[in-house]
């Protein structure tokens, strides 16, 4: 006799986006694990067609309010590649500083308000703050410094307005960056303390065999770059991105998923990928700290990505300090250009992982084609695979406990909201 039962349990929360997890069991053996992502379609790649290329950074920023700078950077770099504009180093440094602000803001939000509560069984960062007031206040101040960088360089922290094709609308005067230095110095020390605190958390023992993918450079920790490294394969040029990784659609989700084309296998993008490939390129404080935190390198435990985020925040503060201390105002805020037909691709490292953009432009400077591959859709298949292996020992527990444990794991990837998702329900279908 076969009996089927669907149980709906609590909400999958503190993940930015909306979705559900469906698990089906056949005689208590896992049959299917489906991460349903039902973020309403917003059709960016469609309405970008026909828009002037200048609009693209501001328009694509609206894909995600948590990582708008990533969208501005990937789109600007891809279009600049199409126009064959070289960005001078001094402008490039300012873009890196802007990106530091976003990493600090986004990572500190995730570490303190979204993921840390899980290690203590609290429902929110606010509740965590009642028990760890100093740590949470420190975390919020760190996050605020990230926002301050974004405000100085871009006017506001969500959808900053200053990035344009070729550079910036206006570069800051030196005082504006000088004034950030005291807070950045405090932030560096505070980020080190925070990472020590996190290092003492009790991490579930769940070590995976990941194919980790991120940008990789010979000397710079990756925000920008043209070479993609894979821990289980050849490195490849960003221009070959779509020959290596493809998006495909599954019936249970509006977010596209991605996998490697040849092997049809899943990959993991984000802080663990970057830190495993590139921690040798960290600034000295982050480098030293990486050797002292409680993990084994390479680190393949998704729950420890919070530790990787902590180390990346330390590195971002060091980078930001270096840029601010050495800043001289560039003679020009942006490189002039003439619109021309072309094709351009670029990837940059959003807080959650690689964000790839591809544009085709006509000779009037209008977008003819756009492809955007966000990190969350690229991680989705890996998350499903991880859940499949994580679930079996949990199945004897009550459904709401299973749901909580799965939420915890899913949150550890920091799945970006609106690139893709909203989590609402876990349903377990048991066929006996």
């Amino acid at each position: 006799m076969s009996e089927s039962r669907t149980i709906r349990v609590g909400a999958l929360t503190r993940v930015e986006g909306e979705g559900a997890l469906h698990v089906s069991l056949n005689n208590n053996v896992i049959d299917r694990v489906e991460l349903n992502i039902y973020e309403p379609p917003r059709f960016f790649e469609a309405f970008l067609r026909g828009r002037p290329l200048e609009d693209v950074p501001d328009l694509t920023a609206r894909i995600c309010g948590i990582c708008p700078v990533a969208y501005q950077m990937s789109s600007a770099c891809a279009i600049e590649a199409a126009l064959e504009i070289e960005i001078p180093n001094e402008i490039h440094q300012l873009r890196k500083l802007l990106y530091c602000g976003e990493w600090i803001e986004s990572h500190c939000l995730h570490m303190h308000l979204l993921q840390a509560p899980d290690f203590f069984g609290y429902s929110s960062g606010l509740e965590l703050g009642k028990h760890f007031p100093d740590e949470v206040k420190r975390g919020l101040r760190l996050k605020k410094i990230g926002n301050q960088i974004l405000e100085v360089l871009g006017g506001r922290s969500v959808h900053p307005v200053n990035v344009c094709i070729g550079g910036f609308y206006r570069t800051p005067v030196p005082d504006e960056l000088q004034n950030l230095i005291p807070e950045l110095e405090w932030g560096l020390q505070a980020a080190i303390e925070t990472t020590h605190w996190i290092s003492g958390f009790d991490f579930p023992d769940f070590v995976r065999d990941y194919d980790l993918i991120s940008i990789s450079n010979s000397s710079d920790y990756p925000w920008f770059g043209v070479t993609m490294a894979s821990s289980k394969g050849e490195s490849f040029d960003v221009k070959e991105y779509e020959q290596v990784i493809c998006e495909y659609q599954v019936p249970h989700s509006t977010a596209l998923q991605a996998q490697k084309i040849e092997s049809r296998t899943s990959c993991l993008f984000g802080p663990l990928a970057r830190i495993n490939h590139s921690r040798d390129n960290f600034h000295p404080n982050a480098r030293k700290l990486a050797d002292r935190v409680n993990t084994q390198w390479p680190c393949n435990n998704p729950f420890q990505s919070i530790l990787a985020r902590g180390l990346e925040v330390v590195h971002a503060f060091e980078e930001a300090l270096e840029i601010c201390r050495n800043y001289q105002r560039p003679s020009e805020s942006r490189i002039p250009y003439q619109p021309r037909a072309g094709v351009g691709m670029a990837a940059t490292e959003a807080p959650r992982g690689t964000l790839f953009h591809h544009y085709e432009i006509d000779d009037a400077g209008l977008i003819q084609h756009a492809t955007i591959i966000p990190p969350t859709s690229q991680n989705q298949k890996q998350i499903e695979n991880d859940l499949r292996d994580y679930l079996p020992p949990l199945l004897s527990m009550e459904d709401d406990q299973v749901a909580q444990a799965c939420e915890r794991l899913i949150r550890s990837y920091d799945p970006c909201i609106s690139c893709a998702t909203h989590f609402l329900k876990l349903s377990i279908e048991r066929v006996e």
């Binding site: 309405f47 609009d55 995600c64 006017g155 969500v158 609106s418």
Partner: protein
């Protein structure tokens, strides 16, 4: 201690930036938590409580068949409903699909459009339920958002300044980007609230706070065109994150007609 205000935050089609503007309140957030119960804020807390709610903030636009039902349910459980951001107040950037061929858009983005539920239009919340107040911006301003919550806490009438960005520039002594640099700017038509950010960064306003109350839109477009800008150049300013705000939609459509007429007369 008096009862806390029960606050709910709900999301429809959006980028989450407006909700993030609340999390960006940082220090105030901890103080706020003393006065307000975050009864429904799934992006910040796993504790989800059912209604009724004293105050609900809605981010995002109505864009799927499910949304139609969901928004009615929320309204029924809500005392005061405030929409936050261009998505919720005007349909947002995703309303750029409204004039387009929806099937074509679906096919462009999804290999299997049949798996995806979507409406042909993205519309503001006020098209579907009664709304007590609309807070503009893409994203909303954190200060204005906190003020709305505080107004509700203290039983004050909601209000935000409704003059233009242009006036804020004058008040802050920002050099006019249109006059000094010849850059087209929607500042004279756009509601204040951002602090005139774009002109401060030497660029024109693209109307992310939507049209302000009294606008002389035709006056501005005529002047910009006389100043040497083409209709084609102005269209993307109007058809942007507030493309479906009536005043911007009307002007955008008018400029498109002018642009195609100009195109024909050149042939």
């Amino acid at each position: 201690m008096p009862e806390k205000l029960r606050l709910g935050i709900f999301k429809f089609a959006s980028c989450d930036g407006c909700q993030l503007s609340l999390l960006n309140a940082e220090e105030e957030l901890l103080e706020l938590a003393e006065l307000v119960e975050f009864a429904h804020f799934p992006e910040a807390s796993s504790r989800i409580e059912s209604g009724p709610y004293d105050l609900v903030l809605i981010e995002g636009s109505i864009s799927t068949p499910n949304d139609l039902d969901h928004i009615q349910k929320i309204r029924r459980q809500t005392d005061t409903l405030v929409t936050i951001g261009a998505c919720a107040t005007a349909g947002g950037i995703q309303a750029l699909r409204n004039g387009a061929n929806h099937d074509e858009f679906m096919k462009l983005v999804y290999p299997h459009p049949e798996f995806v539920q979507s409406l042909a239009t993205s519309t503001p919340i006020s098209n579907h339920v009664s709304v007590d107040f609309e807070l503009r911006g893409c994203p909303v301003d954190t200060g204005q958002l906190l003020q709305i919550i505080s107004d509700k806490l203290h039983h004050r009438k909601f209000s935000v300044p409704d003059h233009s960005v242009c006036r804020d520039c004058k008040l802050q002594n920002i050099v006019c980007v249109s006059v000094a640099r010849g850059i087209p700017c929607l500042g004279p038509l756009t509601q204040a609230g951002c602090g005139a950010i774009c002109p401060r960064f030497h660029r024109g306003c693209y109307g992310c706070f939507g049209p302000c109350h009294q606008t002389n839109t035709d006056g501005l477009t005529d002047w910009l065109i006389k100043d040497g800008h083409s209709s084609a150049e102005l269209i993307p300013l109007f058809l942007n994150v507030n493309a479906e705000a009536p005043e911007f939609a009307r002007t955008g459509a008018q400029l498109m007609r002018q642009d195609s007429a100009e195109g024909e007369s050149h042939e």
